[in-house]
Symmetry: C2
Subunit: 452 residues, 2 copies
Amino acid sequence: MSEKTKILLKEKHMPKAWYNIMADMPNLPKPPLHPGTKQPVGPDDLSPIFPMGLIGQEVTQERWVEIPEEVQEIYRLWRPTPLHRAHRLEKALDTPAKIYYKYEGASPAGSHKLNTAVPQVYYNKKEGIKRLATETGAGQWGVALSQACNFFGLECTVYMVKVSYHQKPYRRTMMQIFGSEVFASPSEHTNSGRAILKADPDSLGSLGIAISEAVEDAAGRGDTNYALGSVLNHVILHQTVIGLEAKEQLEKVDAYPDVVIACCGGGSNFGGTAFPFAYDKIVKGAKVKLVAAEPSACPTLTRGHFGYDFGDVAGFTPLLWMYTLGKEFMPPGIHAGGLRYHGDSPLLSQLVHDGIAEARAFGQTAVFESALVFAKSEGIIPAPESSHAIHAAVQEALAAKEAGEARTILFNLSGHGLLDLPSYDTYLEGKLIDYPLPEENLKEALKKLPQV
Amino acid sequence: MSEKTKILLKEKHMPKAWYNIMADMPNLPKPPLHPGTKQPVGPDDLSPIFPMGLIGQEVTQERWVEIPEEVQEIYRLWRPTPLHRAHRLEKALDTPAKIYYKYEGASPAGSHKLNTAVPQVYYNKKEGIKRLATETGAGQWGVALSQACNFFGLECTVYMVKVSYHQKPYRRTMMQIFGSEVFASPSEHTNSGRAILKADPDSLGSLGIAISEAVEDAAGRGDTNYALGSVLNHVILHQTVIGLEAKEQLEKVDAYPDVVIACCGGGSNFGGTAFPFAYDKIVKGAKVKLVAAEPSACPTLTRGHFGYDFGDVAGFTPLLWMYTLGKEFMPPGIHAGGLRYHGDSPLLSQLVHDGIAEARAFGQTAVFESALVFAKSEGIIPAPESSHAIHAAVQEALAAKEAGEARTILFNLSGHGLLDLPSYDTYLEGKLIDYPLPEENLKEALKKLPQV
C-alpha cells in the first residue's frame, strides 16, 4: 500500500475564491420569474428576504468570487477537509479501481451544509441583519445555520417540521446548544402556521409549510432575513470549496477522476463537488463523468419535467427553470430526508439537460447495503443521503472490475450518519423497504405545473 | 491571527512505537495480586482471558514498544488526529493563554478508545483467538471494540448495562452495524447473569455485573478472550500515540505546554495524553503540570485510598495497587458515565502519589457550562467526559489571565458528544444538578477494602 490513506491540504492552500460555473456554461438556465407577474425577478423582488451580497452572487457571471477572510477564518475550524483513499473499500470490492472520497462530515455540523451557512450569515451580518429565519426537515440545515449564526452573533429561528421535531430530537438539541430558537412547524408564531393548525390541529407539518412560516417571519421583520440551504446559485457557489479542494488533493497524488459522484437533493452538494470538474470538462475537454445520485422514490433528474416550477409548495417563491416532479408531488418517507425535494438547482438541471452531468436513481435498500459495506471497510457510518453516492461509487467500482480497468472514482461523503442511527436499526431489523414511485401522484403533480 | 487553526501531521510522521512509562517511573506500583492466593499474578493466571502479546506489554519495562504495521494501517484511517489551536475559545475567555486541544473524537468510533481496541484485537487474532467478549456502560468502549473486531474479522460479544441498552440505543446500533452481538446485561447467557435475574428479574444491571458476564463468557470458551478498555498498563501504553503526536505537533509551532490536561475515569485517556510529557518531567526535568480532571461525584484520585483493591465489584479480578473509593462505592448517576469508576490505573495512581501528576475534581454543572462555552467557540460538541478536561483548561486559562501570563495549555478532547445530546437537553432545560459526594457510602466502601 504505497499511497497514503488520507490526503491532507495545508490551511494556506485552502481555496481563496469560490468557482462560479455561470461563467462557463454553454447555456444558462432561463431566469427566475416573479410568482405574480411572471416577469424575470430583479434585486428589489429579493431584497426583503436576502442581503444584496447574496443577491449579487445569485446573478454574477464572474468566474471567481473571493471568499472573505472572516469566512475563511471560520472555515479553518474544519477545512480543508481530508480526502481519503478508500484502500479498504477497494479491497472489500476486489476492484482495480482507485476510490477516493472527500469527507465533509468532518465539519462540526456533521455535513457540507456549513460551507454555505457561514458565508450566508456573514453577508447578512455585514448588511446589518440581526436575525435569520429558516426551515429544516431532518435538521442538517438547521444545525448548520444555527452554528453559523452563533459564530457571527446573529439570532436564529428555525421552523422544524413537527414530525422530525419530536422523532429526531438530537438535531433539535444541537440547534439549541448553539442558541437557536426552534419551533415545531406548523407553529402558533406565524399566520400560515396558525391557519394550518386551525384546519388541522394535529398536522405533522411538512417542509413546504415550514418554508412558508420562515419566509413569512423574515418578510415581516426589518431586522430578519431568510436563508435557504440548497437549490439557489449562491448556495452552490459556496459549496464549490469541496470540489476545488478535492482537485488540489488529487493533484498531490497525480490522480484525476474518471468519474465524480455526489448525492443530489436540491443540488448544492452535487454542484459543490462536481462543478469544479465540470469546468475541466467544458473548458478543457476533460473526459470526466459527473454523476448525481438520487433516490428512485424522488427521481427529480431522472423522471422530472424540465421547465418552470415553484420552489415551494405554497407557490410563494419565484418560478425556477429546473427539473421538477411538480410541487405537489409527495415523495414516500425514505430515510434520506434531505433528498426528498420535488425540484432541483437550475444550474444543475441545465447541465443535466445539456448532457454535461448525468443522474442515476437508486432504491434505499440497495443504498443501505452499500452503506454497510462502506462503514465496515472505512469505519465511518455515512448519512443515508451520502450513501446514495457511495452506492453509485460501488457500482462504478464493480463496473471497473468487470472491465478490468483501474479507473479513478471520486465521491463526496457529504455527512456522517451518527444522528441517523434509528434508520440503520430499521435496516438491521430487516424492516427497510423500497417504496415504489407513486406514479399516479407524479402524473397528477406534473399536470398541475404552472403555465408560463 | 498568525498561527494556523489546525496543526496537522503527515501519516509518515505518525509514531512507530508506543511509549512505556514503566521504563522511567521513580517508583513502580506494587504488583497485582491473585484474588485468591494474594500472591503476585504471573502470566499463567492471565492467559485464560488475555493473549501473551498483551500480557507481555502489561509487564515489560522496555521504554518503546513497536506498533505493528497491521495496527498502523488501521490507525491511518483517522490518525494522526489534528491538534487545534483554540483561537476562538481564547478570545471568548479573553485570556493571554495559548490553548491547544488534541481531537480524538475524530476517530470513527468517536473517541480515543479505538487506539487500544485495534491493537488488542490484533494481538488476540495473532494468537488464534476468534472471538472477544467485553462489557460496556454508555457504549464508547463497546463501539470501539466492535469496530476493531470488524476490521480484523473477529466476532465480538458485548454485555451492555441494561439501563443504557434501553436508554441509549444509538451506540448499541453502532455496535450492531459493525457486526457485534449485543446483550442487555444481566442476560440469560451466563451463570452470573442468570443468578442476578433470578434474584431480581427487573435488575437494570451495572458495569460490575457486565464485567462478570464478559469474563465468565471469555473464560468458558477456548476461542474467546476478554478485553478491557482502560486501567491496565497495556491499555495506557496504546493510548500514548495521543501524547506522542501532540508533542510532535506542538514542536512544529515551537510550543511546549505549561500544563497538560485530560479527563480521568480509569486513566487510559489521561495516561495516553500525559505520559509522554511525564517522560520530559521525570527524565529531563521539564516544568510541566500534568492535571487529571475527574468528577467530584466520583473523586478517585482526590479522595480515594492508595492501596490494594479489586478492579471489579464481584472481586474476580486481581488486586490492583491504586487509588480507590472502594469497589462497593456507588457513584451518583452523573452524565459522564465513562468517569464513574471506583479505581484507577495503577501507573497513574503511583505518579499522583509521587507528585508527578495531580488531580482536580469538578461538579457536572460547572463542567457543562464550560462545555457550552467550548461548543459555541470551537463548534465541536464535546462528550460529557471530555468536558471535564475542558473545564480544567478554562480554569487554567482564566488563572493565566489573572496572572497576566501567556501560558501554554494543552488538553485532550477525547470524544465528541453527538450521542450524548440528551444530557445537553437536561442542562438546557435547567434540570442538571450537582450530586454531592455520598460521604456515608464512601466511608462504608473504604471500610470494606480487602485485607492484604
